[in-house]
Symmetry: D2
Subunit: 137 residues, 4 copies
């Protein structure tokens, strides 16, 4: 329904406040990859990326993954998000979220997200998210 | 171990970047209440408080509730956070988080948090959080 | 919609296979209390109540708490269950689940459950559950 | 640490009560596959596999995946399990759980599990689990 250009434009328009923090890296049938351009505003003392920043990355990635499939008319709402924080992100690196949809039902969409430090092979965090999808007409 | 004044001072010193967003309302044996002074930086289009802001509120509230019991030497790390988003927060109101510890073990602390719009009786969100506690000497 | 007698009858009829494991202790506006009559079939080696038995207790308790409010016509389906296992249950004691509804929407019901060993004051487990509610006509 | 034969023997000895319900299909560096031989005792009215049965499958699969890496001396304990129920399992089919470890730390192990109806390509359930690992000497 929405290709990479359409998703990037949507991000810029509807998430204007934080759009510059993110960059869509890829969107295809297998899922979606979103970059968090890590800046000072995302860091906790000690240089770790904060939990809320990782949460926001996972949430935006999954939101875009749903829009890619159902189009921009939807106003999906996050109903649950569960995050496992696995490892300290590497200092000075961006984070990459790999999101995939596990279910796209009429009322609920469920997916999971793995978050990596750029260049890293072991996940920094894992998240699963559920969205409520408004009735489609 | 830490009373309300000590917790507020800790918040100001160790969470300097976001300390002005929060205010400790209460800390006692039953748990802890933390206010999010909702500002433009916490809002999504439409005036809703963003998911990451609610996540941050729950996370800081539980972190302080643990410190209240084990003191400021600890460097507890969030290992899991699961949030249910229940209702849209009321526009123009602060959020209040009520945190309680359910377990304070030697290695793990677990608690839950209910988030309300100020003056509201039905929860906006519910969160449960697990922290890994470093070995105490 | 359904009082304690109606809920107990429903349990016996619709959960015939496991109904004898449970007993409804209370159902009122504040929530619902359900007992797991702990038997050998619920135990792991060492005498601990198994995780699946605790899961089942929480799931049935919340299911009944929803039915108490919307009546027996519904076929609510569990969509998410997150359980924190906090302490080893005390040997030779039944478990009591205290369930409360946090949200009863048109499409989703969300609640949490605290599980105690009978006579104990510290929770053995905490669970949150989400159910999808079929359209009501 | 433990190969497929050792894991199957462990299952038979330490989970004697339920061992006949499960069969280890595969264990290698990528993870572990465990079968639930679905029988009447796992079914809810209507022929669906019950939530507790799916929970048990995910829990045993992840437990074995940890043992495969740290050996049989460990007494790992489940501290959290979060399950998303995605689709109704197909009637008359076994379930297969694909478990992978995302982190094996000194104190915590975290992994996720995808559950499929045999022959199906879309997941019936997704679970993430955390285990506390006892100090190794």
């Amino acid at each position: 329904m929405m290709d990479e250009a359409a998703l990037s434009a949507f991000l810029l328009r509807d998430f204007a406040q934080v759009a510059q923090d993110f960059r869509l890296e890829r969107s295809d049938a297998a899922g979606l990859s979103l970059r968090l351009r890590v800046g000072d505003q995302h860091l906790r003392p000690g240089g770790t990326v904060s939990g809320p920043s990782i949460f926001a990355l996972a949430d935006v990635a999954m939101y875009l993954a749903i829009l890619a499939r159902i189009g921009p008319v939807a106003l999906a709402v996050t109903t649950n998000c569960s995050v496992d924080f696995l490892r300290k992100p590497e200092a000075g690196r961006d984070l990459l979220a790999e999101a995939r949809l596990l279910k796209l039902g009429r009322r609920l969409a469920v997916g999971d997200v793995m978050v990596f430090s750029e260049g890293g092979t072991e996940p920094v965090a894992r998240a699963s998210l559920t969205y409520s999808i408004p009735p489609r007409t």
